[in-house]
């Protein structure tokens, strides 16, 4: 516009240009005003860090001094680092401990609540949803005392009272990961329940009516009709919970500090330790990318299946 008016001073053309610009602004002003700052923020805080993080995986840098490129040595290190593999193994184990109970209990609660009157259902939904809005730090603070491995632990006191053996819980390399999984089940099952509840709402009454006319019992209706019709929800919940479980950090940091004997050393916990305790930003970025690849694959599966489901 400027070039045009500069080279060819044309009085007749200017007003329509200005008019056009004004019209353009009145139509797209809001886009310029708000979308552009957000895009700049997006580039600075999302796109650049994602790329920067990848570059970091090829460097040796501990915040002080200049970053040194060291080629693939961080990646090679990953393959020889037994603790890194243990952290991946622990995270997968944690997912297994956590996903099936969360889904089963979430579905159970949804089905039970769905059968209630609306008011009663809302009341129960509220109770099971309460942990979802409570922070991991608060719940970890309570879990610490409930599952304390000494005689002072609350469950151990109950066990002693009942004349049973006390357990090591958080102090045991066999049980600690299970205790963390129980914390996550408690925290997350309320949202799983809501997903299932929405799914149950989506099944039309007629399907049930038809089954009832055929004389099908409750269990039969559930196993032959409700459960299969919830397949998209099963899938969605499975992926969402798996993605969440791979990012487990707070409880491992607060309750066990990765121990005992690295048994609760998860991917994100190890990344945190490598990055912010040992100041190995390059290697920590490799671990972050391992997490990224796992989550990306899960998300892609989810996208694909959900799309097929919609078609």
């Amino acid at each position: 516009m400027k070039v045009n008016s500069g080279c060819k001073p044309d009085k007749g053309k200017k007003p329509p240009m200005a008019e056009k610009a004004k019209k353009h602004l009145s139509k797209y002003g809001i886009v310029y005003l708000f979308l552009i700052p957000v895009m700049v923020q997006f580039i600075i805080f999302y796109l650049i860090p994602i790329i920067f993080s990848f570059v970091l995986t090829f460097t040796d840098w501990s915040i002080v001094g200049t970053p040194k490129f060291n080629g693939l040595s961080n990646w090679k290190r990953l393959f020889n680092d037994a603790i890194a593999w243990k952290s991946i193994k622990n995270t997968v184990k944690f997912s297994i401990y956590y996903i099936v109970p969360t889904m089963a209990l979430g579905l159970f609660l949804a089905v039970m609540i769905f059968a209630q009157k609306k008011k009663v259902g809302t009341f129960f939904k509220g109770i099971f949803f309460l942990p979802v809005v409570t922070s991991f730090v608060v719940i970890s603070g309570i879990w610490k005392w409930i599952f304390m491995g000494s005689e002072q632990g609350i469950i151990n006191q109950v066990l002693t009272f009942l004349g049973l053996n006390t357990q090591l819980f958080l102090a045991s390399s066999k049980q600690a990961l299970l205790v963390l999984a129980s914390l996550s089940v408690f925290k997350v099952v309320g949202s799983t329940m809501i997903y299932y509840f929405a799914g149950l709402n989506g099944i039309s009454e007629e399907v049930y009516e038809a089954a009832k006319i055929d004389g099908a019992g409750k269990w039969r209706i559930f196993s032959r009709i409700t459960f299969p019709l919830l397949t998209p929800i099963h899938f969605y919940v499975a992926i969402v919970t798996t993605i969440g479980s791979f990012q487990i950090f707070d409880s491992a940091f607060l309750l066990t500090n990765g121990g005992p004997n690295f048994s609760t050393n998860t991917i994100v916990f190890y990344m945190y330790k490598q990055g912010f305790s040992s100041l190995r930003f390059g290697y920590a970025s490799v671990l972050a990318y391992v997490l990224f690849v796992i989550i990306l694959l899960l998300s892609l599966i989810q996208k694909k299946v959900i799309r097929e489901d919609l078609d």
């Binding site: 009145s26 886009v31 708000f34 957000v38 923020q41 805080f45 999302y46 650049i48 860090p49 994602i50 920067f52 993080s53 970091l56 915040i63 039970m112 209630q116 939904k125 509220g126 109770i127 099971f128 949803f129 309460l130 942990p131 809005v133 409570t134 922070s135 730090v137 608060v138 719940i139 603070g141 309570i142 879990w143 610490k144 005392w145 002072q152 609350i154 006191q157 009272f161 408690f186 809501i194 997903y195 509840f197 929405a198 709402n201 989506g202 990012q247 950090f249 707070d250 940091f253 994100v268 945190y272 990055g275 912010f276 930003f281 972050a288 990224f292 989550i295 990306l296 998300s299 892609l300």
Partner: protein, 271 residues
Amino acid sequence: MESKKTSLISIVLLTILAILFLTPFIIMIIGSMIKMKIPVGNPFTWIQKDLSLFNFNFIIKNSEYLTWIKNSLVITIIPTALQMFFALVLGYIFSKKQFKGRNLIFWIMMAVIMVPSQILIIPRYIMFNKIGWINSYIPLILPRVWDIMGVFFVKQFMLQLPKELEEAAYIDGANDFHILFGIMAPLSKSVIATVGTFAFITCWNDFLTPLIFTTSKEMYPITVGLASLLTKEGNFGIEMAGAVFSFIPTFLMFLFFQKYFTRGIAFTGIK
């Protein structure tokens, strides 16, 4: 008859599970009011002990609790308000304005959901460290002024609104700002409330980000502050009182906005 019996069974089962789910919270609340370093004896006997606010007084006097609450409020309320605002404006732009590259921009932004936030922490840390913003509010606010899920919610919501709404207003000479704030905003109240409740809970409960970006006690939000109380030897009463402090705001949010939470979760589940 048959259905009455099963409904009774389901109520009983639900009640048992509900009690089980409430037990940790009851332990927290009763524990917070008892002067007890270690939870001795069975929890039911605690209530018979003297209840007092000793622990609350103690942490207010002996720690930076009030500062931590203030910090949490700052790093929660500012991002929440901005996320609600940007969800409204960007939801409108992405659903109602036609321009080149609109969908491309939206889907690139959407794709970032697949990137775990942990991957962004190290590069952001290096960035903020270079500028000298570590241990300030900025790293906890600036990256969170908008959120793509909120934008997505509002976009989907506005797509369902009839086109005639804006068209009539355009003919009357209204501009985007009139339409957005005069017509769309009041209609979107409940979806914006959903965005707000999620933003509030996410920011208030976040632990890893402030753990990394705050380095001195006076800058801790309540999650990191509470974590600093959970020491190895520990003090049961004090820790539970700290937990209660951190729990109250989220509990209030939950009490008043429960339906927005469930609506939001159900929405992500279906779409």
